[in-house]
């Protein structure tokens, strides 16, 4: 093997390892170096697409995933990466087609079944989701990721017993498995064991301080503790869920509604009512202005208690 090929494979390994640890930026940096040397490396483009999805750079991710498939159309991993990218773009039919194509190239890879399960979940087909997860379990019965996906699926269905069974099985395979820790934390929180749930969030964060799902768990714990923070979190998730156009419509709709209600009240002699509406709107504006920094401070206070794993 030439020195160049060695370097390329070392960067690829480094990127894969970064991505496994949740370090998307580290993966992107390693893959940029790799692609600087070997721009026609299809699997590197595919891995870069997955890293970009994790970094929420979804337009660039789609570009990279399409490049990967164009360069290596017969490699399952490239189709898998394109499938994952299409999911975040909301193109579920196209994503399903890519995962099915990946499965024909590599029928033994449970990741393709997990991808199909994700498509089924977003398409609102819970039975189909479970079928794919069970198939993934048949392919890789001892894999913690498959078990934790099953735990999550049962958690969403409100089946605490099965959730616990699969989450514990995943943690037996990999005691530090992040997603299994998170789903276990959510289960504890649902049972009202707030302190234990917090410990699980800390445990998950000690392995990956940037994990979105672990941070979400911690936020869920905090919002249970602090109603003011909970209100901010709910407003924020309601406003930012879905497309940007939806957010703009909601914001402008809220403004127009408040203005029209205030004007109408004033013109019909309800001066006090008009003032109440205006002040309520002002309070909401101030709250949403102050909210993010208050929220960040609260979260930061919690995060200072996290003891990072020495391997992180």
């Amino acid at each position: 093997m030439s020195l160049g090929a060695l370097t390329v494979s070392r960067w690829f390994e480094q990127a894969s390892s970064c991505l496994r640890r949740g370090d998307a930026q580290g993966a992107i940096d390693a893959l940029k170096r790799l692609l600087g040397v070997e721009p026609e490396h299809g699997q590197a483009h595919a891995l870069l697409a997955l890293a970009l999805v994790q970094a929420k750079r979804i337009h660039a991710a789609l570009h990279e995933a399409k490049l990967a498939v164009a360069i290596e159309p017969e490699v399952a991993f490239c189709h898998y990466a394109l499938g994952r990218t299409l999911i975040v773009h909301g193109q579920l039919k196209a994503a399903r087609a890519e995962f099915e194509l990946a499965r024909t190239f590599d029928p033994e890879d449970a990741d393709n079944e997990l991808g199909l399960a994700l498509v089924a979940e977003f398409a609102g087909k819970p039975e189909e989701q479970l079928q794919h997860l069970e198939r993934a379990l048949t392919l890789e019965p001892d894999r913690a990721t498959v078990l934790s996906h099953l735990a999550e699926a049962w958690f969403r269905r409100g089946d605490d017993e099965r959730t616990e069974r699969y989450a514990r099985a995943a943690l037996e395979q990999e005691p530090e498995h992040l997603e299994a820790l998170v789903v276990m934390g959510h289960l504890l929180l649902r049972r009202g064991q707030t302190e234990e749930a917090r410990e699980h969030a800390f445990w998950a964060l000690s392995n990956d301080a940037t994990s979105a799902s672990a941070l979400r768990l911690l936020v869920a714990v905090k919002t249970r503790d602090n109603p003011l923070l909970g209100l901010w979190w709910r407003i924020n998730t309601f406003l930012l869920r879905g497309s940007k156009n939806r957010t703009v419509v909601l914001l402008i709709g809220g403004y127009v509604f408040q203005r029209v209600a205030s004007l109408y009240a004033k013109q019909h002699g309800f001066r006090l009512g008009s003032e109440v509406i205006d002040y309520a709107w002002l309070a909401l504006c101030v709250y949403t202005w102050v909210g993010p920094s208050y929220f960040a401070r609260q979260l930061q206070r919690e995060l200072t208690q996290v003891q990072l794993n020495k391997d992180y």
Partner: protein, 154 residues
């Protein structure tokens, strides 16, 4: 070694040192008017080297055309006597909502490129002072414009 460039990475431009968080441009629109906010968005788009530059510039143009159309329609309705003092505040609400919608859209498109630009180039300029100065600049600029342009650009 030639570095691989990902499509959404902002390109460096001669105006790069002028980039600011697009949030300040939204605030400038609210406090100073669109003459300040939208021209700031245009400058910021060029300074950031935004991946959506063409879309952002087209949106500013669309925003201006929309403001002009709504203002013309409003003034015509006033002349026809269909828009009286009671209905006028509702009509102006529509114009403000249009301007805010365009500003939010511009901010949403510009924010990801801005964050990437900060990652690659480091800290940006703080736009708070200029955004708040918009409150004082507004009467100075808008007050000297004819009614039509004052409504379009306020």
């Amino acid at each position: 070694m030639a570095a691989y460039q990902i499509v959404d990475e902002p390109s460096r431009t001669p105006l790069s040192h002028l980039m600011t968080n697009p949030f300040w441009a939204v605030l400038a629109t609210m406090l100073g008017g669109v003459w300040l906010g939208w021209s700031w968005f245009v400058l910021n788009s060029l300074a950031i080297g935004s991946m959506h530059r063409k879309k952002e510039l087209a949106t500013v143009a669309l925003g201006l055309l929309g403001s002009m159309a709504l203002t013309l329609l409003g003034l015509w309705e006033v002349r026809q006597g269909r828009l009286d003092a009671k209905l006028l505040p509702y009509a102006t609400t529509l114009l403000i909502a249009w301007k805010l919608a365009i500003s939010y859209l511009l901010q949403f498109w510009q924010a990801p490129s801005y964050e990437l630009a900060v990652y690659f180039r480091g800290a940006a300029r703080n736009g708070a002072l200029l955004a708040f100065a918009g409150t004082f600049l507004r009467p100075q600029i808008i007050g000297h414009l004819p009614d039509f342009w004052a409504l379009v650009l306020s």
